[in-house]
């Protein structure tokens, strides 16, 4: 029985697509699909259209930020488009 459950889980959640928060993997998959399509078909071809994935990104982000807090991961939240900063000691 446990073997069957194991197979079912692995089929629906392929073990390769992992998010830091287990619950976020599906949301990540949705966002990734949207982003990868835009990246390949618009962005790299020089189209100036904005990324259309805002909604799925927001849902995915809420989940990820929660997981990061829960797991106490020392993410550097500095404005990432700014100048490079030295890594803080932790």
């Amino acid at each position: 029985m446990i073997y069957i459950i194991h197979i079912y889980i692995n089929y629906n959640n392929p073990p390769d697509m992992n998010s830091v928060g287990e619950a976020c993997t599906e949301l990540k998959r949705e966002y990734d699909q949207c982003f990868n399509r835009w990246f390949a078909e618009s962005f790299l071809k020089g189209e100036r259209s904005g990324e259309p994935c805002g909604d799925s990104f927001k849902r995915y982000q809420l989940c990820v930020q929660r997981a990061i807090k829960e797991k106490d991961i020392p993410v550097d939240g500095v404005d990432f488009m700014g100048p490079n900063k030295d890594k803080p000691e932790s």
């Binding site: 390769d16 697509m17 992992n18 998010s19 830091v20 976020c24 993997t25 990540k28 966002y31 990734d32 982003f35 990868n36 990246f39 390949a40 962005f43 790299l44 071809k45 020089g46 100036r48 904005g50 990324e51 990104f57 995915y60 982000q61 990820v64 990061i68 991961i73 020392p74 993410v75 550097d76 990432f80 488009m81 890594k87 803080p88 000691e89 932790s90």
Partner: protein
């Protein structure tokens, strides 16, 4: 400090390599990289795409000593900032560990560009800078184990409560069985006295 650098040529055009590099993980060659999450993303005024990502690595089965004290998994994290410039055709990624930064510092930089002599090819230059801070291996292991002991201490206390409850209920059972078997001869003795 240790520096390491290498160059590699892919027989594929830059767009193909860039798309692939963006979706590099997970892959069967790097089983340790457990997951990648996007933390932030945006296009800057110059039209370049910035991404900040969190990489989660799982280094697999710990040593027997660690598994004996309950460490079954050891995740480490790195943070990556990348910039894709579709006009200049450059894809630059910089990553650094955010776990164990008091012990070790690994900074990596990868740059994908079209090969200067052949636009159907892509050149990757890769550099790493490794700094192990002055701490002995034994001291590091002690720290890791202490962390695990602390994490397991609560479980140990819960376990104690569970065992105590179980023992108490066994004692209660024995006591009520004893009362039951004493009652019969006592009742018999009482009826005899009459």
């Amino acid at each position: 400090m240790k520096l390491w650098a290498s160059e590699h040529i892919f027989n594929h055009p830059w767009e193909t390599v860039t798309k692939a590099a963006m979706q590099k993980y997970p892959n069967p060659m790097n089983p340790n990289v457990f997951g990648v999450d996007v933390l932030a993303r945006g296009v800057d005024p110059a039209g370049r795409l910035h991404s900040s990502r969190l990489l989660t690595a799982d280094w697999g089965m710990p040593s027997m000593a660690m598994s004996m004290i309950g460490i079954t998994r050891s995740f480490t994290y790195a943070q990556e900032h990348s910039i894709v410039d579709p006009k200049e055709k450059t894809f630059e990624l910089k990553s650094t560990n955010i776990s164990f930064t008091n012990i070790i510092s690994v900074d990596e930089k990868l740059t994908y560009k079209p090969h200067p002599d052949d636009p159907e090819k892509t050149m990757l230059t890769q550099e790493a800078q490794i700094n192990v801070k002055a701490i002995s291996l034994s001291s590091y292991l002690e720290g890791v184990i202490a962390k695990s002991i602390s994490a397991n201490a609560n479980k140990g206390r819960e376990a104690m409560e569970w065992v105590i409850r179980r023992l108490n209920s066994e004692i209660e059972e024995l006591a009520s069985t004893a009362r039951g078997s004493m009652r019969a001869p006592m009742a018999a003795a009482a009826s005899e006295d009459k």
